[in-house]
Symmetry: C2
Subunit: 237 residues, 2 copies
């Protein structure tokens, strides 16, 4: 049984990157009746602009709180070897993102680390529900976006924590987008009133935050809006 707030709504921790998927996930967690505490990570990503957008998304959806957790891995060399954090070129204009191998934008163990922090935070505030916007359809081939990974983390969470072991509740890792196409995600979000103009997906934005339009994230996003048949509010460079 999770803690409830004064309105008797169960608490959830929602991973919020500021992108289209996590903004939709936050809206879904709200629509399921949770009081949502959003967390974002400052992990040295090149597209740090997304953190400002995450704050705007949390505010526009009236999340109960939004916290940015700083992860300093510069000393560890961890999270290196990725085009999202290092000086490796972000790939452009790949319309087949199911290209058979894991791309250079993969960040080692990122979702494992993010979910671990979310779990610790959930245990501290008394939440048992953790939402994240991973997707196994229109995605970039990351291993830590697959259903088997989510299931394994949920199992781990229920072995790892005093709250679960002492029977105060069972953790549930919610990945409500995991089987949706990008177009389905966008339609779902629009139904729930998500303002996609303030979300940010681009891996390689300009200094003023305009999307490049050509990285994997931009390609998936553009094609999603086109397939959904709705206006794409993204500001492209």
């Amino acid at each position: 049984m999770s803690e409830k707030n004064e309105h008797n709504s169960p608490l959830a921790v929602v991973l919020l990157s500021g992108g289209l998927d996590s903004a939709t996930t936050l809206a879904i967690s709200h629509s399921e009746g949770f009081t949502c505490h959003a967390i974002s990570f400052d992990y040295g990503q090149r597209h740090k602009f997304e953190l400002r957008q995450a704050a705007l998304v949390a505010q526009s959806q009236a999340a109960a709180s939004h916290r940015i957790i700083r992860i300093d891995l510069s000393a560890a060399g961890g999270f290196g070897a990725s085009a999202l954090t290092d000086n490796i070129a972000v790939p452009k204009d790949r319309h087949d993102t199911s290209h058979g191998s894991i791309p250079v934008t993969y960040v080692p163990a990122r979702n494992t680390i993010f979910l671990s922090f979310a779990l610790g935070y959930a245990e501290v505030i008394g939440a048992f529900d953790i939402f994240l916007g991973v997707n196994a359809v229109d995605y970039s081939g990351y291993p830590d976006c697959r259903p088997a990974f989510i299931t394994a983390f949920e199992k781990l969470a229920n072995l790892a924590t005093a709250a679960a072991v002492e029977g105060r509740g069972q953790y549930r890792i919610h990945a409500p987008l995991i089987n949706l196409t990008k177009a389905q995600i966008i339609r779902k979000g629009l139904e729930l009133g998500v303002d996609y103009s303030i979300t940010h997906s681009c891996y390689s934005p300009s200094a003023d935050g305009r999307a490049c339009g050509h990285c994997d994230a931009c390609v998936l996003r553009r094609e999603g809006f086109a397939t959904a048949g709705v206006n794409d509010p993204t500001k492209y460079a």
Copy 2:
């Protein structure tokens, strides 16, 4: 197949707190032929003295490297609600540490977070072996020190990472102390030449680093040396 160094020794990442258990674990990983990269975490622990000792232990055992990863959770409220990080009194003189409930020194999701960082770091450097000194016998009842937790994390690691999914290797989480008593750990370490005088276990040391002698960690350590029948080199306050 993991990366090997110039001497053809496989790489390992070893979690090193600076305590008796992790110092022994580092010695065991060396004795098994690994080139060992030690990592420690600065997570706002009250007993920060242990980080200095971790550096001494790494140096005395000639680890290939030692890195301290700073985790700033002050903004997140995470890792709170523990006597190791907050203003909660550390319990004293409990000789029955199998006291049926998880103590206030439990830190929410700590080993999950530590192992997640170790996994990311291992993937970056090309290691597939991660060692940690958890123990399920003379321990304090933490859920994330049990064999089932270790098994679940190992399974997760092999689903979470590009290195495993692309078949470059399988991660192994080694917990060589998990079924040993404290006395057995000490005897094993002495066999391997561990200098316990530079290790630190106390949760509540004096300003000059002397052990209190009364917290759970001190009680377990003292009784371990007594049972092993060897000299306890710990400097008590």
